[in-house]
């Protein structure tokens, strides 16, 4: 890799600088153009070709029209609660199983990996068909509340939540760490709490962040179970007030973008530390 200098005669698959630049610029334009169109739609005066306005958002502040947006705000609230519950579910269900498998039952690791990656090959709509009868029973007990959706959404989050923790674990020698801790007299609880978990902080943080970003973008399960979340509320608002819907979509995109950048930063910080340590 490092031997590749601009002057060297080109061999192999690497294209020329110019070709590469042209392709990448075209790709970047192609991907940014729809976002620009959405931005223009939300913030341009309707009758003019240029300018910037917040006029489309004025209705949002009008108390007389608040009923139009009540559902949206309720949906956002529901989604935030679902996001928190889903993160808790991952920490309560997934993380202990992964740690236990890594430390004591290493053969189970493959089973956990298989189970966690399974939701990729089962279409979400298929799961959603099965969730309908399951949730009929659950809502019998709890009433039709949105936060229990976290259990269903947690399943489609599994592949995303699993990977950062797994890659964090494979960079550690957890067995040696726990043996060292145990030989110093710590019990299992103390070992996990003060040795294993601090070392897994980055994986857990990345996993929690990506969980939040997936939950905020989740539409399928909420739509099949006819619950009001951020995305289903946006889809409904699209007809009543497309401008506010577009603005909130842009804001959510920005948030998800920031979350993913943050995950990247967490990853590169740990990478830099590792390089420094090596």
């Amino acid at each position: 890799m490092s031997a590749r200098t601009p002057r060297a005669p080109r061999v192999g698959a690497t294209p020329s600088r110019t070709t590469a630049t042209v392709i990448l610029v075209l790709a970047a334009l192609g991907f940014l153009y729809p976002l620009y169109a959405l931005f223009r739609f939300a913030f341009w005066p309707t009758a003019q070709t240029h300018g910037f306005t917040l006029q489309h958002l004025e209705r949002l502040a009008d108390p007389g029209q608040a009923y139009m947006y009540a559902q949206l705000f309720e949906g956002i609230q529901n989604s935030l609660v679902i996001a928190v519950v889903t993160v808790v579910l991952m920490i309560v269900f997934l993380l202990p199983a992964m740690i236990l498998a890594e430390l004591r039952y290493r053969r189970v690791r493959q089973v956990i990996e298989f189970v966690c990656l399974l939701p990729i090959s089962i279409p979400t709509v298929v799961l959603a068909v099965g969730f309908v009868p399951v949730y009929q029973q659950i809502w019998h007990l709890t009433g039709s509340v949105a936060w229990v959706l976290a259990f269903a959404i947690g399943i489609i989050v599994l592949p995303y939540a699993y990977r950062p923790i797994q890659s964090n674990m494979s960079g550690l020698d957890m067995v040696t760490l726990s043996e060292a801790s145990r030989s110093l007299g710590a019990g299992w609880f103390a070992t996990v709490w003060s040795v294993i978990l601090p070392n897994l902080r980055r994986g857990i943080l990345s996993s929690a962040l990506i969980t939040v970003s997936v939950v905020l973008g989740e539409y399928t399960i909420a739509s099949f179970l006819t619950q009001n979340t951020f995305q289903t509320a946006l889809a409904l608002l699209q007809h009543a007030d497309p401008y506010v819907a577009a603005t909130f979509a842009l804001a959510a995109l920005l948030l998800i973008f920031l979350i993913l950048v943050l995950i990247g930063a967490v990853g590169s910080v740990s990478g830099a530390r590792k390089r420094k340590a090596a």
Binding site: A13, A20, Y36, A37, A97, L260
Partner: protein, 308 residues
């Protein structure tokens, strides 16, 4: 101090003795929460979805529900789903592969590459309702690109629609194609890039030493080595497009693809006799996904031959 040490000693001697089997069993119990959770919310729903396709109103086993596939609307939706995913997979695979090759020319730890990697993971996540909004603003009836093409070239973007009678392009399957390509290309880049990075520079040098040009490099080394990974990644894109629901649902109310029909049949309890249609369609989707994943594992086995 001494208390802790003696405790540990007692613990250890006990571990070697008769208490051990009991402790091992207690350790296994640690998997219970995860096992119960995935059983109730992953295994049970999947089985219920399939089971609802195989039973009649009274809960008895029947294959009669498969009669749904004789319904021309459902048949067309299934065809649309497969065609849309196939077209998306082919287009995204080609575009994604070209972008991957271009990324080979930039510094692997440089700014462009880091931004490109981050962008790929962001855009691959960016599906659903919000993306549908962006495309309505782009190629919708009063979309930015629609108006631009009309004013600059007198070209009506709705002429790209396969079915001219079904309204604007964006609300049709042909319009969804563009949206699907948008979120599938980044997926292709993420899936295919490792294979390209795995190409050894020595192979290029070997071709050059033997007097071969870049054309013969691609013909005799590049394409054959990359083909399994390329088609494998293409299959992943197909699977992603095939099971996607949110984007299409935000763009149309009519059951043009299978997931939308499933949702409509589930939520409308007024029509008798269709309660088991979503289950039958779920079985159809699982069969398609199983075939696709089987092909993927075959290709992965071939692809791994050239890695490491």
């Amino acid at each position: 101090m001494t208390v802790v040490a003696s405790d540990a000693a007692v613990d250890r001697s006990a571990g070697a003795g008769a208490v051990r089997p009991r402790r091992r069993a207690a350790g296994w119990l640690g998997f219970t929460p995860f096992a119960v959770y995935t059983l109730v919310f992953l295994a049970v729903p999947t089985v219920l979805a399939v089971w609802s396709g195989l039973t009649d109103e009274k809960g008895a086993f029947t294959l009669a529900n498969f009669g749904a596939y004789a319904n021309p609307v459902i048949l067309r939706a299934f065809g649309n789903s497969i065609l849309l995913s196939l077209a998306t997979a082919v287009a995204s695979a080609v575009i994604g592969a070209v972008i991957c090759v271009a990324l080979l020319a930039v510094n692997p730890v440089g700014f462009t590459r880091v931004v490109a990697d981050a962008a790929a993971s962001v855009f691959a996540q960016f599906g659903g309702v919000m993306l549908a909004f962006a495309f309505v603003a782009t190629i919708g009836t009063t979309g930015l690109l629609t108006l631009f093409l009309k004013q600059a070239f007198g070209f009506d973007i709705n002429a790209l629609a396969l079915d001219k009678t079904a309204g604007p392009l964006i609300n049709q399957v042909s319009g969804m194609f563009f949206v699907y390509v948008y979120f599938s290309v980044p997926l292709m880049v993420i899936a295919f890039m490792p294979a390209l990075v795995g190409l050894r520079p020595q192979w290029g040098e070997a071709v050059a030493t033997l007097g071969g040009g870049r054309l013969s490099y691609w013909l005799h080394v590049g394409f054959p080595v990359l083909a399994p990974s390329f088609f494998g990644s293409m299959i992943l894109v197909f699977a992603g497009a095939f099971s996607s629901y949110a984007t299409a649902s935000a763009l149309t109310n009519t059951g043009v693809i299978i997931p939308i029909i499933m949702q409509q049949d589930l939520s409308s309890e007024t029509l008798p006799g269709i309660a088991h249609v979503p289950g039958v369609l779920a079985i159809g989707m699982i069969v398609v996904m199983a075939i696709v994943m089987w092909l993927y594992s075959l290709l992965q086995r071939r692809a791994s031959r050239w890695q490491r």
